[in-house]
């Protein structure tokens, strides 16, 4: 059995990847404190509960990224001849599915609060001998949990673009949307204080819809990636131009008459096949194929293990 060649990030991206790993560890530590702070003032607000659960769920993408970071570079072996690049996709699907399920649960839970006319209450807490309305502390905790992630998200998004990492991108998107979650929960708490019992449940529903939206989008992307759809840019916005670029490169080679390329994503890397019809008398074909294979991999760091297949003609 032939194992796939080892893959290593280019040195400059190794540094970017290390930075991303550090950032994700920092995220986890920060999230742990935010989760603890929210738990301390949770009370009976449904919106607070939703924001709290969303914070717990925001641990999943960083965890998925870090798990994948440990696995993706393992060299291929007899059991896994293609290596472990797909671990990124598996981690991504797992995290997305959890997100979707949890969003659905909160949506149901919050809708039932509305249906049952449940009125939430927020009372007092004693702080240094003073009685303070717990709602103010909740709002403080929500600000702490909602504002820093926006900055984290921006930093992660830059790295995600460089690394072409979809898990990191999904994480960045969730972080960037955190202010909206915190804002909705704050309005829910203010609503309770204003005697508008339904405001809290409505805020929770808004938050849960946001989680469901995130979860659905990510499950979709994760499934599509595992289904080997055409490679896209890191933000899934458009098809990656690399397929056309490789075809153009091959078509310009003197020994190639026609070329068609098919690529798929495995985590960070792109793998696939290049079908080539040689000109009338190309010369030493094995030599040419080997050289061309290397030339393709030199086009972009992400191109890895693209098999060059020589055919007498291409159908259609």
């Amino acid at each position: 059995m032939r194992l796939r060649a080892d893959f290593e990030l280019p040195p400059e991206l190794e540094a970017v990847h290390r930075k991303a790993v550090r950032l994700e560890w920092f995220s986890i530590v920060y999230l742990a404190t935010a989760i603890a702070v929210l738990a301390a003032v949770l009370g009976s607000s449904q919106a607070m509960k939703a924001a709290w659960i969303e914070d717990i769920l925001s641990l999943l993408p960083p965890l998925a990224f870090l798990v994948a970071a440990r696995w993706r570079d393992r060299p291929p072996n007899d059991r896994f001849p293609y290596g472990y690049h797909r671990s990124v996709g598996v981690a991504y699907l797992t995290a997305s599915a959890a997100l979707l399920a949890m969003g659905g649960f909160i949506l149901y839970d919050s809708a039932m609060v509305l249906v049952r006319f449940e009125h939430p209450s927020i009372g007092l807490i004693e702080l240094f001998g003073q009685q303070v309305w717990l709602g103010w502390l909740m709002i403080g905790a929500l600000l702490y949990s909602g504002l820093p992630p926006v900055l984290l998200g921006r930093a992660k998004q830059r790295l995600a673009a460089q690394l072409h990492d979809k898990v990191l991108y999904a994480d960045a998107e969730m972080n960037k949307a955190d202010w909206a979650t915190a804002g909705a929960a704050i309005l829910g708490v203010i609503g309770i204080g204003a005697g508008l019992w339904w405001a809290d449940a409505v805020a929770a529903i808004v938050i849960s819809l946001d989680i469901v939206h995130d979860g659905y989008g990510n499950v979709r992307t994760a499934v599509h990636d595992l289904m080997d759809r055409r490679p896209t840019t890191y933000d899934h916005a458009e098809p990656l131009p690399l397929v056309d670029e490789v075809e153009a490169h091959l078509g310009a080679l003197p020994w190639v008459a026609r070329a068609e390329v098919r690529l798929r994503e495995e985590g960070h890397v792109l793998v696939g096949e290049a079908y080539v019809v040689p000109v009338g008398s190309p010369g030493d074909v094995p030599q040419l194929v080997e050289r061309t294979t290397h030339a393709i991999e030199d086009l972009d760091w992400r191109l890895h293990d693209v098999a060059v297949v020589v055919l007498p003609r291409l159908d259609s």
Binding site: H119, L124, G191, I192, G193, G195, W197, A199, A203
Partner: protein, 235 residues
């Protein structure tokens, strides 16, 4: 964008509210009770709510009376089981339920429990003249404990022999007793807690002005005041 629009809508709804009362009630309980009638559900639980005579008595009954006086409100007492009164509270047929409720009470879906205003413990204690100085000295000894209470079983963790009695005040020797009765019964506390109770009262859900008014009243009661009320309820 959609999220932002909903947030803006909620903000507009909450902004024009007058700032005079904060937090506010969903159904205006505090405004209705002030200068009006306060409907209080009573669950018998000595020494917190005592229903022996025509007039209700007990620590929490006294506290409610004092609160009512401050709000210039008339109290309408209703007796009932805890389940019935919590249901009544849920549909706002009463405004307040007292009866030795504990912060771990399972009524969070029916009622808003206040922050606890007092923590009491039941402890192992001996008569002043008893030789025991630590809980280890009581190992294997009979200890009087009120019949049919959780303490009667929990005290076994200290390797003593529980003896169920009707009232520990009549017992000689070591007893399990509420910490507020130690002085009155001339008992010496050993360093051994058997049970802990965080005392709360229950109000209607969503009535935040009412809830915080009750909480503020209860939390500002001094230890001496609560101690005096407890002393007055000694049998």
């Amino acid at each position: 964008m959609r999220t932002a629009a909903v947030l803006a809508g909620l903000l507009v709804l909450t902004l024009p509210l007058p700032a005079c009362q904060w937090p506010r009630d969903a159904e205006g309980t505090l405004d209705r009770v002030t200068g009006g009638t306060l409907r209080v559900g009573l669950v018998e639980a000595e020494p917190w709510v005592v229903l022996d005579d025509d007039e209700p008595d007990g620590v929490e009954v006294r506290l409610v009376e004092e609160l009512a006086a401050r709000l210039h409100t008339e109290v309408e007492w209703v007796q009932g089981s805890e389940s019935a009164l919590m249901d009544a509270l849920h549909v706002r047929a009463v405004d307040l339920v007292v009866g030795g409720l504990d912060s771990s009470a399972p009524w969070r879906d029916q009622a808003a429990l206040t922050r606890h205003y007092l923590t009491t413990t039941t402890v192992l204690a001996v008569p002043a003249e008893d030789g025991a100085t630590t809980v280890d000295d009581l190992q294997g000894r009979p200890v009087a404990v009120e019949r049919g209470t959780a303490d009667a079983e929990r005290v076994r963790t200290y390797d003593v022999v529980p003896v169920p009695v009707a009232d520990v005040a009549d017992a000689d020797g070591p007893v399990v007793v509420g910490d507020w009765r130690l002085d009155d019964l001339g008992l010496r506390e050993l360093d051994a807690t058997v049970g802990t109770s965080e005392h709360v009262v229950a109000v209607s859900l969503g009535e935040n002005a009412w809830l915080t008014t009750v909480e503020r009243f209860l939390l500002t009661r001094s230890g001496e005041e609560l101690g005096r009320l407890l002393d007055e309820e000694q049998p």
